[in-house]
Symmetry: C2
Subunit: 367 residues, 2 copies
């Protein structure tokens, strides 16, 4: 198979391009900039599935009314430690950034705060929001429910999303710990990659329409489209043998804290359609949290202990054939450093996609 | 292999017996009762590994000074939303119950509260504490670090505990959701069961001293004792193939929130020994949280949505060969109902153990 040449683009230019696209779609300058920032950060961190490859879906969403360019966003409930924000079917990113900032501001005053968002859309990488807490030397938390793709343990119908969890915790000299994980074994994007390469899937990632193991990427993707049954497996795989019920449990926790606690849609009620099959606003829910570390112990001592733990793990003995032990977020930080300097490699299909958007909206594509 | 007859004992009598044992060891009446309650609840819920089978270890701990019967427990830091409690090397259960109660009381006033405990001991089942929030219609959280048994992804040295997470969330007519899971694929207890039955372990549970997959339960248990290397795998198994790095990430999160945030020992510094190899106080850390649901949305609406989600999952189509989909905690609630009525079946070895303790401490064993 021939490897197609990747287009290397400058992160800054890519962000400006995306922001301009959003503005052309009627989104305010500030919200356009926030959304572009978060999309490009995904590409910088190597999470292409959540980067500018999605720009077309956002443009389409803004066109067909699934996402509103000028939403009626408002805080509908607020206390010293909590808030609930109605996103008004706007883009997921700007409201999520404001929600996390509200959590941080409240935590700054009182120690801990949680903010939920309802009636929102895809919010990009979960880790963007949790990492906002790091500058304040706080612990940050971010979760969302998502498109339904995952079967519960012993079930064969996809009823839950890949529901990611992100937690960011600062260290001193070492890079912060940034967990950002789907609660399924793998995200949908990995199935799409295997399908493109025509490779069989590893056993333990997905089930077929009967709930049995499958290795056929193409079939699974078709089953998603037709809602025929089957889907991704929760972390831990099928059944209870390797504790798939634990991944299912984490996924359910995210669904409850995001979909239900915010008063959004949950399970198979997200991404609804009207009677004619046209997409309606996604009605996703998010959950954000911030906590002050110095309310528990001296901040410098805490951060020094974080360094100790991180170094102990990284310097410990490797299993046969391995040369490195990672801390969560580390690979992504290294990638971002590299791509910021050298540029972001875009898949030819994605680059073509962006050019089409540029043509259609009359935005200059010069990256 | 002959199946040995189990002794069926009354839960109430078993609890009184345990409480009397603790009192004989110098523990206050109240703390004895709390610890006994929590041990027996584990047996009632079918989590034998955390039940009265551990009584001997507690008695030994109180004898050799790893656990202090009359600890100098105190609140060392406190705000409206947070507290840190020094356990003074006392039993893990009483201080943990008080810590969780403090979190609930604070959350009652302000919406959300987190309380950490440092310098503590084994606290029993994580779910006892998270479930305390249910009566108050709050969400409860409980985590602890534990004895070091698990290898990080790509590592071969056990440096982390099985670090459980428990979250309890109330429903209306349905039973509450009670997640209570080790972040390893399986807990140590399961390896002991396979060893007793002389059965090979399923691949994906443990690694040998080189960090390679193993199925030999006896060898793994010996490696634990001699700290030769190898150990349990995080949820998701070895490497990144089935996303073992996610289980490792959750485990690390628990270590940071319990060991580090509380100012306790962490990683391989828990359960230290003196120069002669004698055990010192375990210095475990715990983390407890409570949050009011009605600070986010109407409580009845929330609980009704919980019922809807739970029923949707339970009534959905089963995978081939399966007849039931579970919600977390459900199996344990059913077992507790049964055992409360019919009595708790004790393994003959455990019953023998209890009788020896009774003889030694001159406590009547009449269950």
């Amino acid at each position: 198979m021939a490897i197609e040449a990747r287009e290397i683009v400058n992160a800054y230019a890519l962000r400006n391009f995306c922001a301009e696209v959003f503005q052309k779609m009627g989104v305010s300058e500030e919200d356009s900039r926030i959304t572009a920032d978060i999309l490009v950060l995904a590409d910088l961190r190597g999470v292409n599935s959540h980067g500018v490859a999605r720009l077309k879906r956002y443009v389409d969403g803004l066109k067909n009314g699934v996402m509103l360019a000028q939403p009626d966003e408002k805080v509908v409930k607020e206390t010293k430690t909590t808030a609930v924000i109605e996103a008004g079917s706007g883009l997921g990113q700007p409201v999520s950034k404001r929600a996390m900032q509200k959590a941080i501001d409240k935590a700054n005053d009182i120690g801990i705060a949680f903010v939920t968002v309802r009636n929102s859309n895809h919010y990009g990488i979960a880790g963007y929001y949790s990492m906002m807490a790091l500058d304040q030397d706080m612990i940050g938390i971010s979760m969302t429910n998502t498109e339904v793709l995952v079967v519960p343990t012993f079930g064969k119908d996809a009823l839950l999303g890949t529901n990611p969890i992100s937690v960011a915790i600062p260290a001193a000299q070492e890079r912060p710990y940034v967990l950002d994980m789907a609660t399924s074994v793998v995200p949908r994007g990995k199935i799409e990659v295997y399908n493109r390469l025509e490779k069989p899937l590893p056993l333990g990632w997905v089930t077929d329409t009967k709930g049995n193991p499958s290795t056929d990427a193409g079939e699974i993707l078709e089953n998603f489209e037709s809602r025929a049954g089957g889907g991704l497996l929760p972390l831990g795989g099928a059944g209870e043998y390797l504790s798939g019920h634990k991944g299912y449990g984490m996924m359910l926790l995210v669904e409850m804290l995001t979909g239900i606690l915010s008063g959004s849609a949950f399970a198979d009620k997200v991404y609804p359609k009207d009677d004619d099959g046209n997409p309606l606003p996604a009605n996703l829910g998010h959950f954000f949290g911030a906590m002050r570390i110095d309310y528990f112990r001296d901040l410098d001592e805490f951060k020094a202990d974080m360094d100790t733990l991180i170094r102990k793990l990284k310097n410990s003995n490797k299993s046969e054939g391995q040369s490195r032990i990672y801390i969560h977020g580390e690979k992504e930080f290294e990638k971002a450093d590299k791509y910021r300097k050298e540029g972001i490699p875009l898949h030819p299909k994605v680059a073509k996609n962006l050019k089409q958007i540029a043509d259609e909206l009359d935005v200059e594509y010069k990256l």
